[in-house]
């Protein structure tokens, strides 16, 4: 919230929506600044696609307001909104060539033929697809269709581009490349992107801001760093960067840190100026890469567990450790070297600044 209200292009105010008496959105309030890359992140069924459809005008909300450049969009049909969508299935018109697909928006507005030709070719060049103008969508690969869908949605030069899991159908390698290209495209055009995904890595890689959704509510919003470093809830901590969540009672509070005790041992966490009292039941989140492991207990502040094994994936070693109370803590390390065998008893510890207290608001 560095510049409050400065250049806000889109605002959602208390949007609610139900389907067949099932509440999908339970009051979404959100403002999006012009030129930002905003990601709506959440697992399936959290309502993220419904939010996009409401912004696009394809679904009417039950309550609340959508303001685009300060104007209330209520009741305004999709064709009247300066917003375009890249659909999850791409939704390319199968009976038209690539050129005709991209030209569609201009043609129905009766733009001059030569102007259409120029702008369509520019648009295709932007996504490096000039050579495919005469092909039909059926002749293209998934990644190419994706590019055409993006070119088509940008031809109207929308104020806001909505993207509904656009990379969902692509393989991992292509996804990575498209993430990079999309981000570059967005930076060059300066268009506001609202991007829907369930992939936290994608969200962290691309976004200026992440809006984490859970069951039709906003769980937390902020920059990727804010959400990663200061998750406010255990859900946010686990969803973004898969943090470990541990419980304990506060026994001593001093110098911005708190000492917690549980049946697993004692733990430290930073307090972030939260109002705390000794005896409070607290929850902390700590990331696997920040957890130290040793055969001997460290004086005062460590928890005890048993190594369950290890798996190597994506350049990272994941080591699950089972604590006394049954909680599983996953430690991560770079590389494949790990000195502890499965079944070995170990002691875990972390610096207090690496552990953040979560779920404070939820408790009375």
């Amino acid at each position: 919230m560095e510049k409050e209200d400065a250049g806000v292009i889109l605002e959602l105010r208390d949007i609610t929506k139900s389907y067949d008496n099932v509440s999908v959105l339970k009051g979404i309030t959100l403002s999006v600044r012009e030129g930002d890359f905003v990601t709506l992140l959440g697992s399936s069924g959290c309502g993220k696609t419904t939010i996009l459809r409401i912004i696009a005008g394809l679904t009417e909300p039950d309550g609340g307001q959508v303001l685009l450049e300060g104007r209330d969009m209520c009741g305004s049909p999709p064709e009247k909104r300066n917003v375009n969508t890249v659909f999850q299935s791409y939704a390319l018109f199968p009976h038209m060539t690539v050129f005709q697909n991209v030209a569609y928006a201009l043609k129905i507005r009766g733009v001059d033929k030569r102007e259409i030709e120029r702008r369509v070719m520019d648009s295709l060049a932007m996504v490096q697809m000039e050579g495919s103008a005469k092909k039909t969508p059926a002749m293209l690969s998934g990644g190419q269709r994706q590019r055409i869908a993006i070119a088509r949605s940008l031809i109207n030069r929308p104020k806001v581009l909505l993207l509904d899991e656009p990379l969902g159908a692509l393989d991992l390698q292509l996804r990575r490349q498209m993430q990079y290209e999309l981000k570059k495209l967005q930076k060059n055009l300066g268009t506001t992107f609202i991007y829907v995904t369930h992939d936290q890595e994608e969200a962290i890689n691309m976004s200026d801001r992440i809006v984490l959704l859970r069951d039709g509510r906003i769980e937390q919003q902020g920059t990727p760093n804010e959400i990663y470093d200061r998750p406010r809830t255990s859900y946010a901590a686990q969803f973004v960067g898969s943090a470990n969540v541990l419980h304990g009672d506060a026994v001593r509070i001093e110098d911005g840190r708190v000492l917690l005790r549980s049946m697993n041992g004692t733990m430290l966490a930073r307090t972030d100026a939260l109002p705390l009292r000794e005896g409070d039941a607290l929850t902390l989140a700590v990331r696997g890469e920040n957890i130290g492991i040793g055969r001997e207990p460290k004086e005062g502040t460590c928890v005890r567990g048993v190594v369950e094994g290890n798996t190597f994936a994506g350049g990272m070693l994941r080591i699950p450790v089972r604590l006394e109370d049954g909680t599983e803590v996953v430690i991560t390390r770079q590389g494949i070297h790990f000195d502890f065998a499965a079944g070995e008893t170990v002691y875990l510890d972390w610096p207090p600044e690496a552990a953040v207290l979560v779920d404070r608001e939820a408790k009375p």
């Binding site: 064709e79 939704a91 009976h95 088509r152």
Partner: protein, 299 residues
């Protein structure tokens, strides 16, 4: 069949033993087509050039008399009438069947089943019995006239039965299900995200319908047109029953020449010309509507 000698055998290919005899499987198909489709058609073509004899028979001799006979005003009129009826039937079927099929395709699963059932119900009874139903409805002292008289809409009974409108009603009624089902099938297959995409890109509801929905359901409409136009050229019992003897279609004429008229060569010539003209009409239709490149075609 034996040109594969130079090609190295794939591993395992030899296990089946000897030459590839898979082509044998399709032989029955060819035999069947030859015997029951191509054979009779060629026989009919041959007869159409034969000479009629007194009685039921004919004599093999090449003559164009049978075709020349068709230039007679009576027969030309008969063809014209048949085409007029087939075209009107098809046009009305498009006007009623497309919206019906379209809205049916957009209903929820439950209502789709109900509508489908309603379309199928008439097929459970004989088409002849259903036509007698129309007779009862349309006759001078029939249900329709009684109703209209009672309501005061008309002062004296309408003479619908044994007229062109009655035949048209009967034809549309008989063929409408085919149009509806053909349209419904293609509407059912529609990806409605495409319409949303069109709206999103700036198309109004009407524009999106014209450029996307109509265009993508055209193969269904096309099939429907063929499924109604082709049979309506040949259906004669509807015209016979509901049109009295005032409306003589080519179909009735052929039947008449085969039986009472006892002129098989002329009947064959009529049938041949009818088939050729129907094909020509369909070809023209495809040419005009540019639907030949669309998938899901019947022809």
């Amino acid at each position: 069949m034996s040109g594969n000698a130079a090609v190295p055998a794939l591993p395992g290919a030899g296990k089946r033993g000897g030459r590839d005899r898979r082509w044998l499987c399709v032989v029955p198909l060819y035999v069947f087509t030859l015997l029951f489709v191509l054979g009779p058609a060629l026989y009919m073509v041959a007869i159409s050039f034969a000479k009629n004899t007194a009685g039921t028979g004919f004599r093999w001799a090449f003559t164009l008399d049978n075709f020349a006979k068709m230039r007679d005003g009576v027969y030309v009129n008969c063809f014209r009438e048949s085409f007029r009826l087939a075209l009107s039937t098809t046009a009305l079927n498009v006007l009623i069947g497309y919206p019906y099929g379209y809205f049916m395709g957009r209903l929820g699963a439950r209502w789709k089943r109900i509508m489908m059932f309603l379309i199928m119900v008439p097929f459970l009874t004989s088409s002849l019995i259903r036509l007698y139903g129309w007779l009862i409805l349309l006759q001078a002292k029939g249900v329709l006239n009684k109703l209209l008289l009672a309501l005061g809409v008309i002062d004296e009974p309408l003479k619908i039965l044994y007229s062109y409108p009655a035949v048209l009603i009967g034809m549309v009624y008989a063929l409408l299900p085919f149009m509806i089902l053909a349209v419904y099938t293609s509407v059912e297959k529609m990806d409605w995200t495409l319409v949303e995409a069109a709206r999103d890109l700036g198309a109004t509801r009407a524009k999106a319908f014209a450029t996307i929905t109509l265009r993508l359901t055209l193969p269904g409409l096309m099939s429907g047109v063929i499924l109604t136009f082709v049979p309506s050229m040949g259906l004669f019992f509807i015209a016979d029953l509901l049109g009295g003897n005032k409306i003589v279609l080519v179909g009735s004429l052929i039947q008449d020449q085969m039986t009472r008229g006892a002129n098989q060569p002329f009947a064959a010539a009529l049938a041949l010309v009818l088939a050729l003209m129907t094909t020509l009409m369909l070809w023209l239709y495809r040419k005009v509507t540019h639907t030949s490149e669309l998938e899901g075609m019947l022809l």
